[in-house]
Symmetry: C2
């Protein structure tokens, strides 16, 4: 992140030591020779790309090749007027446009030494880190618990934007669920992602408060064929059969909301829906099961990631193939069979989850798992039926506990001169 | 991490899909062409070094250039006999020697398909990530709460290995403090560090249980002049005046326990003491203070990291220099003045801390801060007096809350054929 751009040369030594003054004097050198330059990024992304455009038809951070680190945050709006909400979204737009391009918040406008700095500073000197900030609106932004129209937008609430239903075995914690607004910050460097959420939270002070947040230390999905498949904490490759950016037709069909999808919510066209699920893994129990059991539950082999019906990682599973014992090689209750498109009316989704570890419980078991994120065009036909099925029949469920949940409508990308949510609020 | 080495060629297809069999078949290709190869590392370390030796005079992970990510864990030993404790330490030695070299736990010994895999698998295909595993022994390993000798080693407890005293303003949580054993896992890739702690915890099952653990997403210290100085969550460069690996004399003087330091604990020679402090930062309050106030509290400027007495980042602070107002430029209650060696009988320490973020509290404030780690030769003369002073006089304390604490004796490095703690237990 570069420093504020040049201003009249500072006069006093005291000023020179200040943020803005020093930035004018040595900002460029600091960027080229400092930690930023020394730190390469560690993800297999398009070579040479060090940042993604903020403006566009769709928000970045969806089909963008999944960066390595995540900081996800959900906010409760405390503002009570539409005008205040607009101000917040405009301020967030400006900050997001700056930070994703490696510029500090409030960039270019040096502040007096006796004022708090515009940017909190911990990303100074770091490269943009391919930061993307993806924003969503929860059902509670449209109507409060009593059904009251909060900001004059209740009539534009998408029909599919409802609190997710209770699924079998859900063990949701309120303090990890829902929210009026959400922000998914993804970057190669966690310091860049954390810096972004912290500054958005700071900007929101007085109009929205952090409700919950989740750090993801490593991606569990590929969203581009240019990426190698990472592993989740069960030790399995995750993302093999994911929807990839290189399938634009399938992305159009399964991810982006279409113009005519919902009469009342035309503002959401080119947007999407974000499903977030914090899924704890009982890894100590898992680690005591045999490799045979693990592979049977998943439906793929652990080392290569090939379906148990044979082949290599990217071979299409043959769900009808049977073994000598007359049983299907990809077991009936295996995760991959139950989640496979042929078993779900052709439905697919773009998964973009992250491994997490948040300390441990009193019994010494790691509080770890998969922070599942998926983007779908219609949660009612894509996510909800599949989760219902998985929660009921998936053998993996014995080793999982869903502890957090959220559904958000993700507006389209911001056009130059526009702001986040302008299609909804203007 | 490579797969178990070759074994007789697998015969059945079923076996081929298994972990060990597939490893034999495609392990090498997986390592060279998989995600491991695609992922470069993101720290400015010695070029070309992708792993650090496990064996040596000192444990790795102390003067080793600080890697970017941390998973720290403290364990309670549940074993009651010395024999069991020995078995645990021997098993940990073998696992640490394997994992730090990028090999899986139990490497080379394929297990039956109906047995749980030797390694949990989520680091398969990843490079070693410059993983270091650094082990320590807490005071409670020597004597239980009633002073009882637990494993016949009470007479060898170092005099300086006592629970840290209560410091002014301490707000310690028991579930984040102390422990019989500790492991500091540092790596460039968090997945590698988390994998290591998880596998050590798995191996300990039945003889030690995870007491607390902490993820650190980004280093806040340089421990080598080859590294650029990173920033902590106050936005300041952290590690500038740290003890560096390139000062071997100072490291000998301030970090490594000497042969004659403690008659009763000669086993600790070439070891060190590890101080761990989980320090929450009140970042929302901090972010509302002026840049002037922030810099005054630290004693350095925020952008360049130079002392307020002038110069550049690595200029020695001039604590006597006064401004026009007759006040010292490096304020009396500033952190840097109070921590400076000239104010502390020449005492220095090797800081090796990490930024952390663990969600947020009910008021929407980030649970974030600095997981402080320091290595010292003698906590009684180095850490304790300095912390006492800082806790009492440091202006920064208004923005800090110490929520976790631990002191551990770090045995010397393991020689080939030896095991962790052999100088203590044999
Ligand atoms: C911690 C929980 C989960 C774990 C460990 C897990 C793991 C896996 C693994 C290992 C695969 C095979 C590789 C791949 O194609 O990515 C997979 C595939 C898949 N998973 Fe999950 N998954 C989890 C939760 C979910 C959830 C909640 C959903 C959606 C409701 C889901 C939907 C899918 C889909 C659609 C596929 C691709 C199936 C195919 O086309 O063959 N997963 N998952
Ligand atoms: C969250 C808490 C802390 C913050 C934000 C913090 C921040 C800093 C900063 C910005 C510097 C100046 C740059 C540098 O030389 O590294 C510094 C120096 C230093 N800090 Fe801290 N620190 C914290 C806690 C501690 C603690 C607990 C100790 C030890 C008890 C400590 C000991 C030192 C020492 C010895 C120096 C070098 C002083 C010198 O030689 O000039 N710090 N710290």
């Amino acid at each position: 992140m570069t420093e504020p751009s040049a201003t009249p040369p500072p006069v006093s030594r005291r000023r020179l030591l200040g943020y803005a003054g020093a930035g004018a004097a040595v900002g460029a050198a600091g960027f080229a020779g400092g930690i930023g330059a020394a730190r390469a990024t560690d993800g297999p992304h398009g070579e040479g790309v060090d940042r993604y455009a903020f403006h566009g038809t769709h928000q970045a951070g969806i089909v963008t090749p999944a960066q390595d680190r995540l900081h996800f945050a959900a906010f409760d709006v405390t503002a009570t007027s539409r005008a205040e909400l607009l101000l917040l979204l405009k301020a967030w737009t400006a900050a997001a446009a700056a930070m994703t391009q490696g510029r500090p918040v409030g960039g270019g406008v040096p502040l007096p030494y006796d004022a708090p700095p515009g940017d909190t500073g911990e990303a100074a000197g770091l490269p943009p880190g391919r930061l993307t900030l993806t924003f969503g609106f929860g059902p509670s932004l449209f109507r409060d618990a009593d059904g009251k129209d909060r900001f004059g937008i209740a009539d534009r609430q998408p029909a599919a934007l409802r609190r997710l239903p209770h699924f079998p075995a859900d063990a949701l914690q309120e303090q990890r669920s829902d929210g009026d607004l959400c922000v998914q910050a993804c970057a190669d460097d966690p310091q860049v992602a954390v810096h972004a959420i912290r500054n958005l939270s700071r900007i929101a002070f007085g109009s929205a408060a952090l409700r919950w947040s989740q750090l993801g230390f490593g991606r569990t999905s590929s969203t581009s064929t240019s990426q190698a498949t990472p592993r989740n904490l069960f030790g399995f490759k995750d993302g093999t059969a994911n929807l990839k950016a290189e399938e634009p037709k399938a992305v159009d069909e399964h991810v982006w909301v279409g113009q005519g999808d919902d009469d009342g919510a035309a503002w959401l066209a080119d947007g999407s829906f974000l499903v977030a699920r914090r899924i704890n893994m009982m890894i100590e129990t898992w680690d005591r099961t045999s490799l045979r059991e693990q592979e049977t539950l998943v439906g793929r082999d652990r080392h290569v990631g090939a379906p148990l019906s044979g082949g290599t990682e990217f071979t299409e599973p043959d769900l009808s193939l049977k073994g000598n014992d007359g049983q299907p090689l990809v077991a009936m209750s295996s995760h991959v069979r139950l989640a496979h498109p042929t078993q779900n009316n052709g439905v697919r989704m773009l998964r973009r989850g992250y491994n997490f570890t948040d300390g441990n419980d009193d019994l010494g078991r790691l509080d770890a798992g998969l922070f599942f994120i998926a983007y779908v065009r219609d949660p009612a036909t894509q996510y909800i039926p599949m989760q219902t099925r998985l929660s009921r029949d998936d053998g993996l469920m014995e080793y999982l506990r869903h502890t957090g949940s959220g559904l958000f409508a993700v507006p389209p990308g911001v056009r130059k001169g526009g702001f986040l949510g302008d299609t909804l609020l203007t």
